[in-house]
Structure formats: C-alpha cells, structure tokens
Amino acid sequence: MNHLTIHNHQTIALEDIPRMAYADFYDLNTGWIKNSEHCHCVNYFGHRTGKDLLLICCVADDATGSIYVSAHPTNGHTPLESMTAVAPCYERFERELHENFGIPMVNHPWLKPVRYPHHRADQTQTMDTYPFYSIDSEELHEVGVGPIHAGIIEPGHFRFICNGEQILHLEIQLGYQHRGIEALMVKNKNLLRRATLAEAIAGDTAIGHTTTFCNVWESLSQWEPTPDVVYARTLALELERMAIHTGDLSAVCTDVAYQLGSSVLGRLRTPIVNFMQEWGGNRLGKGFVRPGQCVFPFTSQLSDRLTTIFTEYERDFNEIMDEIFQLPSALSRFERTGVVSTEDARAIGAVGMVARTCGIARDIRATHPTGLYTTLAHAPIVKHHGDVYARVSLRREEIAQSMAYVREWMNTIPESSLHTEPAQRLQPNAFTLSLTEGWRGEICHCAITDDNGDLATYKIKDPSFHNWMALALAVRNNEISDFPICNKSFNLSYAGHDL
C-alpha cells in the first residue's frame, strides 16, 4: 500500500495520487486514524468525470506536518464497506458521499442525509422526511426547535429527546442553508466572482475562507504570494478571530443573563470590526482578500491606529473578563456544562477550538504552518475539561494571544509591492489542498483542475462539518435550559456546513 505525502498548499498532478483497490484504501485510511492520535481526516470527497468517480481521502498528521493523500476509483454503484464503524471521524464524509453520489455504504451506522443538496442522488429525499431517531416511550418526550430560532441566527432543526428537563439525545438536522456554493465555484469562470463566493461560504469567516481560496488558487497558478499579501491576510485573520471571539463571549453572557457582560463585550467587538472597516472598507472583511493582490496594504498610520485601539480594548476587556471569572452566578453556569470528553473529541475528529478545549493541541498554525506562522513557533492554547468554561477561557486567552501576535507583527510592516494577478489559467489536471486555521478551526479547500486548466471539482470543508457532532454530544445529560449557552459557546456555522 502506498500513498502520497504532501504539505499544506502543495499542488500535485492528479495522476500522482496513488489509486488502489478499496480494501487497501480502507486499511490505509482507517489505519492512520486507529494507530495515531495525531492523525485526522481533513477531507474525503468524490471527483466525478463522466461515469467514473474518484474518491480522494486526505489525512493530516499533526506530528509531522504532512498530509497523506490516497484515492480509490469507483463508479458510484458498487457497495463500499463503511469506515465509520472503525474510525467514526469518517461518519459525515461517508454520509455526504452517499447523499451526493448514491454510493451504497455498507454497515454505516447512521446513513442519514447531510444537507439535502440540490444535486442529491436520491431526489425523493426531502427536508420534510428526515428520519429522526425516536424512542417509543411513555416517560420521554421530544422537543423540536427550528429551523427558525428565537434569535437572529441561521436556520437548523434541533430535535431533543428529553427525560423531564434532562436531554438524553440531540439530533441536528442541517441543510436549510444549502446554496450550492461548490457547484457555483466550478460554474462561474470569473475569478473575482469566485472570490466573492468564497466570502459567502460563511460570512463570519470571510477572511478565513477567502484566504484559503486564494491559497488554493495561487498554488494552482504557481503564483508566489509576496510578503505584503501574506502579511495583510494573516493580520486580518487574527483580527477576525479576536472580533468573533469577543462577540461570542458577549452572547454567552446573554445566555446566562449577565447583562453587563453582554453589553460590554458586545460593544468591545465594535472597535475591532470598525478597524477592519477603516483598513478595508467592510466591517466583516468582505472585499478584503483577493487572489494575487494586496488590495489594502497595511500602513504605519493603520498600525498607530490599531495600537491605540488595542490599548483601550485590552483594558476594558480584561476588566470585564476578570469580573466574569469571579462571578459565581456565571461560573456556576459555565463549569461542567456541555462537556465533550477527550475520547469523543478524538473519535469524531474534532478540530480547532473544540479540539483544543478537550486537550487536543490541534491547530494548523502550529502543525501545518505557512506564511507568517512558520516563524512564529505558535503554541496552541489547550484546555482539558471540554465544558463551557473551557470554551470561554480558551476564547479569552486566544484573544490575548492574537493581540500579542498582531502587536509583534506591527513592528515590521513589509513594503508594498506591485502585483500581477495570477493567471486565470491554472495548471491542468492538478490537485491542491489548502488548510487555514480560521477562528472556528481548520478550514480545508481542495481543488482539482481539468485538461484546460479550469476548476473541475472544488471541495470546501468548514470546521463545523466535524464539530456539529461535538455539540450533539455535549448537551447529553444537560438540562435543556442549558442548550443555548452550549450552542453559543461553540457557535458553529450553518452556512459553512450546508454550503
């Protein structure tokens, strides 16, 4: 059995990916997960050409910084033995392959629809016929919430099975946000329009997803990003992390009815997003990242401005966080609420923030670094209890860490350079994989080009794709009244999942 070992952002010829019989493919990809706690699946998807279907599995090794790529050619009809029973992190990937291509997955324990995409193999499956798990019991009752929720958030349906106030089981039905972004990425030929699409994958992670898209595009067109391009994107990525973490801390305070914390943190997000507007004209960083160019170079004036903002932000942020962390009414809601065990997090292949709150030091900035992170020696912040408290304190410390990084980077601002846009034409018949640590966690985009050097397949994976299962596990045996605070402490993406 062989496989190909690549690194982050590397472009390879599609034919170089070793193709193997399914038994070998199965052993290889389940073997890594079973034998090494450093391995997790970053993407597993199908590439359709005519009647042929090529399954490509990409497993990242956090210990070596490598990505192992292997492929299995199939046709979509041949039944395949599910890998989920042995390696549960493949669970949703296999469901997705089944839903998109109709591949019969044998012995999959939970072969349910993922998102009801417009191109699903079985059009008789509809949102209204989702096969929820249910228990026939006189004592237990079910609670259905959504797709429209009480607040201003994205749609999804949550079905709880409860014993009194206690949640026994939660099943999350997604797909309401499906907009067909992957198909549009291939269909639209205009590069700027594709970049705009990348911004819409998850609007709260516009910098993260668009940066990943640009990395893919620039790697495929062999365009080496200049220092100012890398600099601006990395700074913006850390500012995005700070802004969203601040907003989420505010929302957590709202859910424990701590009004002061909610108000103060809510308004503290404003200076960060307003700075993004001063820099790039948009509070959420849309229109900021574009392939092959640095549209908004960072200047010393901006640096002075951000330094002032940080000073004021830091003072007020620390004051309110110190208060929250010694407030019994808040702590009693955070501690031991919504626990995800390390074993569960590892089994489901959790990434990013969720993994790091469960004792797993999984962070692309440390394990598969590129750009400014290569010289940073980034030490991920890790918490061990996997509860709301861990997620709240992780966010607090990550804000401080990001702020320290940005301050350090502001000491040396690279010269602005002249840019030529990367060629519209990409390397033909090539494969690229790009990983970026967004604020939620690892974003993975994979692209495959055709004979003419245009996109043939574009696969997007938001960290939420792994982490929704963590939320479902976290709320078990919790009071249903604690669901909002659990949900908000994760703040997973519906749009990023549904695509």
Binding site: Y116, P117, H118, H119, M127, D128, I148, A150, G151, I152, I153, E154, P155, G175, Y176, Q177, H178, R179, G180, I181, A183, L184, N188, N190, L192, R193, A195, T196, L197, E199, A200, I201, A202, G203, D204, G247, L260, S263, V264, G266, R267, R269, T270, N274, F275, Q277, E278, G280, G281, N282, R283, L284, K286, G287, V295, D316, I320, E323, S493, A495
Partner: protein, 253 residues
C-alpha cells in the same frame, strides 16, 4: 456589585446620539457616485463580478452590488463610493444609481403603504428569517441592537415568534430548503404586515443568484416594503431604513 458599577462607569457614553448624522470611520463604501466622465464602458461593466454595472447610461444596481469597490479602484475618475450609509429604499428601481445622480437613495414616502405609518409608526416588531444568509447580515442585525447602535430605543425590536411580529426581515437568497419555512412564518404573522429584505443576497440573490439551489418564488407572491442594501448591510443602514419606512417624514425632511 461595586465592581459592576465601576465597570459600568468605565464604559463612558457608548450610544450614538443621532443615528441619522453619525459619521462612519474609515473608507466605508456606501452610496456610489458616478461621474459623467467618458470611460471604456465595456471594460467598466466587465470589471464588476456581480454584473451590477450597466451601460447607457452607466448605472450601478445597489441590489446586486457587493460594495467590493473593484470598479472604483479601476476607474477612480468615474466611480467613487461615498460614506453615505443611508441607502435603504422602498422602491427597487431607486437602488439603481445612474451617472450624474448625486441625490440620496431614500424611501419615497408617497409610495409607502398608509397603514405602515399608522400602525408601526411608534413600534415595530420584526421576525428575522435567515434563508441562506451567510451570517454576516445576521451579525450586523445583532449589532444594530448593541449598546452603541441601540435600535430598541426607537421601538424597533426583533421578536421570537411570528405571532408577536409585525413583519419579517429576510436575509439570504432564500434557499429551496428554507422556502417552505419562510412561507409558513410569513403566513403566521397577523395583518397588516411588512416584508423587509436585508443584504445583497436577499435583494437580488447576489452572488448566489444563478444557483439552482435557491427558490425565490416567495418574493413573487408578496409586496416588499423595504430594501436594505449592503454586503453585509451596515447597522446604520438598517436602522435608518426602518426609521424612514415607519416614521412619517415632513416635507422638510
């Protein structure tokens, strides 16, 4: 308790006193102005990834525009984006800014349904529906209610149930998978009711307009009372738009 009061004191005054005149910081891209300078019109219309620019006369459709500013960087003499954030209107055609136009994009009081001023003039409760929204407009709608923008002070609120609502505010292009939920929610709101579309995706489908996964037929069945452009729409655009729609303006503005 004392530490809470101290924190409260340290916040100073956060709210924006006058949301109609507040200045937005930086290079915010709001209402565009198109000069009458002659440029290569073909190159101008082609440079817009959203096909929001049309020729003869040159015009930008703010219902399609993502305010990325690509056109203004390429043709700085032709197009400039001002920081004017008051760009919400109740008429779809008004979102089209033509060359030479310098006037505001605003609500036309003459075409606002009469019951809106009478019924919602002092209190408006909206049910928000995200129907394929990417969570950027949703963030900004939440921000409209923070202590700085503080939309509640005008009696405008978002409520949990359509039964408590006076209308819906939709973000996102309306996906097929949300189409039924949008209709059910709309039907559950008592008459009279309004419909507001917030953000480029909601107004025109935006970058997702040509997707086979969206279903915008709901919009063929209802009357849209307010368009709030932006990608995402700025909180001040949201607040001013809703105020202009519901408050009866005098002739002097």
């Amino acid at each position: 308790m004392l530490s809470n009061i101290k924190i409260l004191y340290h916040q100073g005054k956060q709210f924006i006193p006058d949301v109609t005149t507040a200045k937005v910081p930086g290079i915010f891209r709001g209402r565009p102005v198109i000069s009458t300078t002659t440029v290569d019109t073909q190159a101008l219309t082609d440079c817009c990834p959203m096909n929001a620019i049309t020729s003869a006369p040159v015009a930008i459709d703010l219902g399609r525009c993502t305010f990325c500013g690509a056109c203004a960087r390429r043709f700085p003499d032709k197009i400039t984006f001002t920081t004017d954030y008051q760009i919400s209107t109740n008429e779809r055609e008004r979102l089209i800014v033509k060359e030479g136009d310098t006037g505001k994009v605003e609500v036309n009081p003459a075409s606002v349904r009469k019951e809106i001023h009478r019924t919602f003039g002092r209190s408006l409760k909206l049910r928000q529906i995200s129907a394929g929204g990417d969570n950027s407009c949703e963030w900004e709608l939440n921000a409209s209610n923070n202590v700085q923008f503080d939309m509640c002070r005008f009696g405008i609120d978002f409520v949990a149930s359509p039964r408590h609502a006076d209308g819906i505010l939709i973000t996102g292009p309306i996906t097929q998978n949300m189409a039924r939920a949008v209709q059910i929610c709309y039907d559950a709101i008592p008459e009279p009711k309004i419909v507001v579309l917030a953000g480029t995706d909601a107004i025109s489908g935006g970058v997702l307009a040509d997707s086979p996964a969206i279903d915008r037929t709901f919009l063929d069945r209802i009357h849209v009372d307010l368009y709030i452009p932006g990608n995402p729409c700025h909180p001040l655009t949201i607040i001013n738009g809703l105020l202009d729609l519901t408050r009866k303006k005098t002739l002097n503005g």
